[in-house]
């Protein structure tokens, strides 16, 4: 960008109400009314921020960023577990597209069992649609078992399966009994259920809890045992977090579900604390683990160095052991200088710049802190498939209306386990901690952390994204692969916050350093200054060469 343009950009002034009006201007009235409720100007007034409409249907014909239930279930939650065979029951496409495209890293470990580089499908044909696909499914499960002898096979239903009425649960149950040494179960995660990926997360949570969690009672070694929920090891985030845990002496029993194994899920009930990263995708399992086994959960965030330190301290405080508290402080002290040096290095080039982010159900929130460490302000943000509690905080939960689409997603009834329920903290202990300001089961959502006059937009679509960029001229825009290149055509760098482009890890201490460098690279790249050729910048032939 030439210096003239840079100066111009700094002077960009916008009025949020005007931006909102312009976003809505072109819509047919019905669409405009609906979208108006999903675009909120943040008043930054405690408890008085207006309500935002979220987790509602996408309007047909409006180019959405959202995906489907199957993507949330198979792609997000179950995809990163290496030793389960994920068999997709349906026509070929759904399986093909979810094949290795999410950048979940995995360490195949000493046993080497890793099916993640494989795609398994029943490749339904028209005869299966007409006569039913149960036989083919049964045969496919048998073939997978005979070939690989895995410890577990998970079956995922795609759109047509529900419609033709294949009873996948009966088939998997039968096969499980037949094999004896292989846990087989199914997910009714047809793409049309719910309104977004979110329904798929819920379905995955339910089935993992129902069929896997609690299968292995063996007590693992470790003094401070936790689970990390809602961390998917994209670009190695989970590896970095595990590195830090290890250094602190914290044992991670199970990650849901980055770099995970079947056995991690099966043993999750033996941990003493659940720490929740992505609230949206995994809070159901956290709740169920508490009800059934008595393990409390806390919200954590390992995106940004400060947030990482805070989360580690919060874990240490939970266990209340001086040894751990000291260890955590020592680790923070040891890790921070490198982070601070990297931050100071980029700061002069990033400070004062602005960002927008529209992803998922947690990252549009988590990454704001990382940007703020670089002196960058988030001027607009929103989720792709979150619910109101992810925006406004969990206190809105009792007032959430359950519409037809959410009602279709099963809520499983969980009770305290007759033998294994073991409250990790007594009610008195919990109360005392809460009285001292410790927060369990708590998430305040994204809105309180955003500045006054910023725009919070749910389920942003392509048209609005382009308009927002045009009107508010951020220095960087973050979303997913589908949005990447239309934004960059406008001359604004775009960072993928689902798959991280080709980067990562961005979590933890090392991740923060990587992210500072990456954003510095993006917002200061020279490429954006090459968009116009010399003859386009100065079209007039004002001077001539003297060719005498």
């Amino acid at each position: 960008m030439s210096t003239i343009l840079k100066k111009k950009r700094k002077m960009v002034q916008w009025d949020p109400a005007d931006v909102k009006a312009q976003l809505l201007a072109k819509y047919p009235p019905k669409v405009a009314r609906k979208r108006a409720k999903q675009i909120m100007i943040n008043e930054a007034l405690e408890n008085e921020t207006p309500e935002i409409s979220a987790n509602v249907r996408t309007t047909p014909g409006i180019i959405t960023m959202r995906g489907c239930t199957y993507a949330g279930c198979k792609g997000v939650i179950m995809g990163p577990t290496r030793d389960i065979i994920n068999l997709v029951h349906g026509p070929i496409g759904c399986s093909f597209y979810a094949w290795l495209t999410r950048r979940n890293q995995t360490d195949a470990g000493p046993d080497g069992e890793n099916y993640m580089p494989y795609a398994f499908s029943t490749d339904m044909q028209d005869s299966d649609i007409i006569f039913g696909g149960e036989k083919k499914l049964e045969k496919a499960i048998q073939e997978a078992y005979d070939l690989f002898h895995p410890k577990s096979i998970a079956v995922f239903a795609t759109c047509p399966v529900g419609l033709i009425g294949d009873d996948i649960h009966t088939v998997t149950k039968r096969m499980k009994e037949k094999f004896g040494d292989c846990n087989v179960y199914a997910f009714s995660c047809e793409g049309y259920k719910g309104v977004s990926q979110s329904a798929g997360h819920h379905i995955a949570n339910n089935q993992v809890f129902r069929h896997i969690v609690g299968e292995n009672d063996e007590v693992k070694p470790g003094k401070y045992k936790i689970n990390l929920l809602g961390e998917y090891n994209i670009g190695g985030d989970g590896f970095e977090i595990d590195r830090v845990f290890k250094k602190c002496g914290i044992t991670n029993i199970a990650t849901f579900s980055g770099n995970s194994t079947y056995d991690q899920f099966a043993s999750a009930h033996t941990a003493d604390l659940n720490t929740v990263m992505c609230h949206r995708s995994i809070n159901y399992v956290a709740d169920m683990l508490e009800t059934k086994y008595g393990i409390p959960w806390i919200k954590v965030n390992f995106i940004s160095a400060k947030a990482t330190s805070r989360s580690l301290r919060k874990i240490a405080e939970y266990f209340g052991d001086q040894e751990l508290i000291d260890r955590v402080e020592a680790v923070i002290k040891e890790e921070m200088p490198a982070v601070e040096a990297a931050r100071q290095d980029v700061l002069p080039r990033t400070e004062g710049k602005t960002a927008m982010m529209f992803v998922g159900g947690s990252r549009a929130h988590h990454y704001q802190e990382l940007f703020s460490e670089m002196g960058m302000k988030t001027i607009s943000a929103g989720y792709e498939f979150a619910h109101r509690d992810d925006y406004e905080g969990r206190q809105v939960l009792p007032n959430l209306t359950v519409d037809a689409d959410s009602r279709n997603i099963e809520e499983i009834e969980v009770e305290a386990d007759p033998t294994r329920y073991n409250p990790r903290k007594s009610p008195e202990e919990l109360q005392a901690m809460e009285a001292a300001g410790y927060k369990f089961k708590d998430y305040d959502g994204l809105i309180p952390d955003m500045g006054k006059g910023t725009l919070v937009i749910d389920d942003l679509n392509q048209y609005e994204a382009e308009k927002l960029v045009e009107l508010m001229k951020p220095d960087i825009f973050c979303a997913g692969i589908k949005e990447k290149y239309s934004i960059q055509k406008l001359g604004i760098p775009m960072k993928q916050l689902h798959s991280y482009d080709s980067g990562g890890p961005y979590a933890g201490f090392k991740g923060a350093v990587n992210f500072y460098k990456e954003i510095d690279r993006l917002v200061n790249s020279k490429v954006w200054s090459y968009m116009k050729a010399p003859w386009q910048e100065n079209p007039q032939l004002s001077a001539t060469y003297g060719w005498e």
Binding site: C68, L87, G93, Q125, I129, K139, E143, Y192, A404, Q462
Partner: protein, 457 residues
């Protein structure tokens, strides 16, 4: 080892597909529709399919892919998607203002039984499709055929826009099939060089290989215009490149508009290009420009120069039928030995064609239609090869088995150039050859002992 669970011994599978060599119809329909100027593809089904197709095309082309969806929820799945589609049509024309929408179905809407033709009629009577705007549709259930079938079906729907005025316009229709934008550009360059006036459809050049200029055009400058599509009905003839991708549309123009057609192989490699140029020269009534004969000569020259590195080298090849057929022929032309050949797209005709092309080889090739990459890998384990040609997913096999690998086909997710440097025709064959030689010679440089290591190759 990334694919460490793949056993060498091959067992019969009748229900389980592992590591597919195909994907579903709608993505092909979407790609084809992007080759119409001012067109917004629309996926009639739940939004996940559309998200997946857009993501995959975006990763391959590194370009924005716009497409809308009917966003079915459970209700639409039970009661039919007509209401969603009608609402979508209205929203699309008011918000995005395309000239045309090209709608394809998905597994879901097909299983429900939605009838797009009837929905279109209703939209027309209700005035939801503005004057001068168009909607075409294609039925693309993914439990039939593959992404190739979806492409071909949408191209056929494009041909449905043809109008016959009774007066021939002297043009030749060329249906290029599912090739890269730069391949389409290359075909246009050649027809121009020959002086044959043509209509190429679909044409994604200038759509999926656009510039970075600070401006985002949802509908870029490229693409076959609706006027051109209408004019295909008055053409003197159609050359369809690829039986799987292009023949259906060409035959449609033949029966509907009396435009005679000739179905050729896709012009990859020497001989298929020869046949294409020869056919073009004859239908166009022109003599072949010297420059083009020159390009051909250069290709032959490079083959002769480098023959020693190619001779009897064994190749595993996987991809889409039309591409793989021409590539197999090219490999035979080069005196290489295509050994294991797989396409995911069903069709026994494919296997027959491959056997014909390879019948003079001193061994019997392994060939399978409706096959998968798991089988290909097992074949390679049993009978190792010197080279693998296929899409990006082959890199897992190539790494595990330590075999040189040329990326060619769809999708290519990890390398650049396929959008910009054609592999069709003579220049394209030169590039293919360059790539093949590149990996083979790199391998020699890696493996040669210090004594044998060569400066000049």
């Amino acid at each position: 080892m990334l694919l460490r669970h793949t056993p060498k011994e091959i067992s019969e599978r009748s229900a389980l597909m592992i590591n597919p060599a195909k994907t579903c119809q709608p993505i092909g329909a979407m790609y084809a529709a992007l080759g119409i100027h001012g067109c917004l593809p629309h996926s009639h089904g739940s939004q996940g399919c559309c998200a997946y197709h857009r993501s995959t095309l975006t990763r391959h082309y590194k370009e924005p892919i716009s497409a809308a969806t009917s966003s079915f929820t459970e209700g639409a799945s039970v009661f039919g998607g007509q209401a969603n589609m009608l609402q979508a049509i209205e929203n699309i024309f008011s918000v995005y203002e395309p000239d045309i929408i090209a709608v394809h179905t998905t597994c879901l809407s097909e299983t429900i039984g939605d009838d797009l033709k009837q929905i279109r009629k209703k939209a027309l009577t209700e005035g939801k499709i503005p004057k001068g705007k168009y909607m075409i549709s294609a039925s693309t259930p993914s439990y039939v055929g593959s992404h190739v079938t979806g492409f071909s079906t949408m191209v056929k729907s494009m041909a449905g826009l043809a109008e016959s005025t009774g007066k021939k316009n002297g043009k030749v229709n060329i249906i290029p099939g599912w090739v890269e934008p730069c391949d389409m550009e290359e075909i246009k360059r050649i027809t121009k060089m020959l002086g044959v006036s043509t209509i190429l459809f679909p044409d994604t050049s200038g759509v999926l290989n656009g510039p970075l200029s600070g401006e985002y055009k949802m509908f870029p400058d490229g693409g076959t215009t609706i006027e051109e599509l209408k004019a295909t009905g008055d053409a003197i003839g159609t050359l369809a490149l690829g039986e799987w991708c292009s023949a259906v549309a060409a035959r449609e123009l033949d029966t509907q508009n009396k435009v005679p057609c000739k179905v050729l192989d896709m012009p990859f490699g020497l001989k298929a290009t020869d046949r294409f140029i020869d056919a073009l020269r004859i239908v166009g009534g022109v003599t072949v420009a010297d420059e083009l004969s020159m390009e051909r000569g250069q290709l032959v020259d490079m083959i002769s120069d480098m023959h020693q590195y190619l001779y009897h080298k064994k190749v595993a090849l996987v991809g889409d039928p039309d591409q793989v057929i021409s590539m197999t022929e090219f490999l035979v032309t080069l005196d290489m030995w295509p050994t294991h050949i797989v396409t995911g797209t069903p069709g026994k005709a494919f296997e027959k064609r491959i056997r014909e092309i390879t019948e003079d080889l001193p061994y019997e090739v392994n060939v399978k239609a409706a096959g998968d990459m798991f089988l290909l890998h097992q074949w390679i384990k049993n009978d190792p090869v010197d080279l693998i040609i296929g899409n990006t997913y082959c890199k897992y096999i190539a790494r595990d088995e330590d075999i040189p690998f040329v990326r060619w086909g769809f999708p290519i997710l990890d390398r650049q150039g396929h959008q910009y440097f054609p592999t069709v025709a003579y220049k394209g064959a030169l590039r293919l050859l360059e790539k093949i030689l590149g990996v083979l010679l790199d391998r020699r440089d890696r493996d040669d002992s210090e004594q044998q290591f060569e400066l000049v190759m």
